[in-house]
Symmetry: C2
Subunit: 233 residues, 2 copies
DNA sequence: CGAGCAGTTGAGGATCATCAACGGATGTGG
DNA sequence: CCACATCCGTTGATGATCCTCAACTGCTCG
């Protein structure tokens, strides 16, 4: 019995392409690793030495300009794959936003294993194609949306991505949702290409308009999900 | 002999993973198609019915907001792959910027073929991973760079991507390059998340500073490539 | 209690968008 | 061949949006 048998993302991650025997082989070259919030797993520009599956927690992918400006270019959740297989350098850093647990592989080992298991590569391809689509849609937000549209879009996206962990839909009123954001205000700003002050002002505006409540820093209660979607443009 | 034998992108496109026999099979399910500048091959939001390899020309991938704002989220060149295999809807429209020639496949046929040819899927995976990296780096530009940095970055990127067709490096002075842009000013604005007026002003500023010459609408002579890279931030 | 951190609020200003007029190139018809 | 229209790009004036700088608030933790 491999530890994979107990893995909570077993049926959602790319590993779902493998049978028991193959899974044992994959398990032999990987190991789980715990990461605390704020810790980095991969650094931008370094040679790609490891890849991983996310088991628990939320991590960010980010790039920086030389003078220190940051842009968060992706957010990964349990069952998502991270890292750059098949050579090259890591295009972006990977840092935990919450405490996290990942299943890591040496990139070379993973590459070799993947090439021998087309089913795994296929899963990875589907996942990568989906991620590319999602990323390109986010570019529309970065390039063409206003600050208010950006913040509203962010909250809508969070409500969708966090469903299950960190998001609860009110049983009586589906228009009402409760989110626990894995982001600080600065990180939200870095996702949206805004400053922290602008994000803050947009949050208080949404609060003033009665679209959300803000019980604490990381909590958002969406009172009017439809209104939020309308704001998202 | 298949028409693939004569294909100019034969050794660069994903087809390079196939041997003669396999290529003949792929050739049987595809056909070449000519597209005139401005014509669309795929529309955003429609069901994904075809995929293609680019043989000649340059095409844009774009998404639009409901109220008509456009963001160009990708540009594809000869040997690049376009379309969304493995189900779902097309995340972005594909439109020719120049007259183009593509090798199209019905998505279902391509999907089935790919699943039987892991080498092809592997090439497609490598290409998709590279495209995702490139796209994420472009997000840094959209979210965090100023108009002047955006335009300079755009010209640097063009000088690199067009090398060969549409870009000539001066034999005597490698710092001097001549580009023929496949974009109108409006399209450049749609790539960079700016307005046409801002793009125009940045071009004339670069001209005034002696970094470029603008002999015609689509021509750019870069006089100081290093200076341009410095401006790109 | 005070220090430190994250977030909020305010004032002022830079950047970029908007609106409008104009210029140059190309094409058409008289 | 020249008026005229059209398209694309440039330039200018003005203003909105969002950034910058600064002060302040509320929390948490020693």
């Amino acid at each position: 019995m491999t530890s994979c048998d107990l893995c909570v993302v077993r049926n959602r991650a790319i590993c779902s392409a493998l049978d028991g025997r193959e899974l044992a082989a994959l398990n032999a070259i990987g190991r789980t690793r715990n990461i605390v919030a704020g810790e980095s797993l991969i650094w931008e520009g370094e040679e790609s030495v490891l890849v991983a599956n996310v088991i628990e927690g939320v991590l960010k992918l980010s790039t920086n300009t030389e003078d220190g400006r940051e842009q968060i270019v992706g957010v990964v959740y349990p069952s998502d794959f991270i890292g750059r297989p098949f050579g090259g350098t890591a295009g972006q850093g990977v840092t935990a936003l919450t405490d996290a647990k990942v299943c890591v592989f040496a990139r070379r080992d993973f590459d070799a294993f993947a090439r021998e298991h087309p089913g795994l590569e296929h899963k990875l391809l589907e996942r990568t194609l989906g991620e590319l689509d999602r990323t390109r849609r986010w570019m529309l937000l970065l390039g063409r949306k206003s600050a208010s549209e950006k913040v509203a879009s962010f909250l809508v996206e969070m409500a969708e991505r966090l469903s299950g962990a960190g998001c609860r839909i009110d049983a009586e009123d589906p228009n009402r949702r409760w989110l626990v954001l894995p982001f600080s205000r600065q990180q939200i700003a870095d996702v949206l290409g805004l400053t922290i002050e602008t994000v803050s002002r947009q949050f208080t505006r949404l609060k003033t308009q009665g679209i959300v409540e803000l019980p604490s820093r990381r909590d958002v209660v969406v009172l009017d999900f439809q209104g939020l979607v309308a704001e998202a443009g």
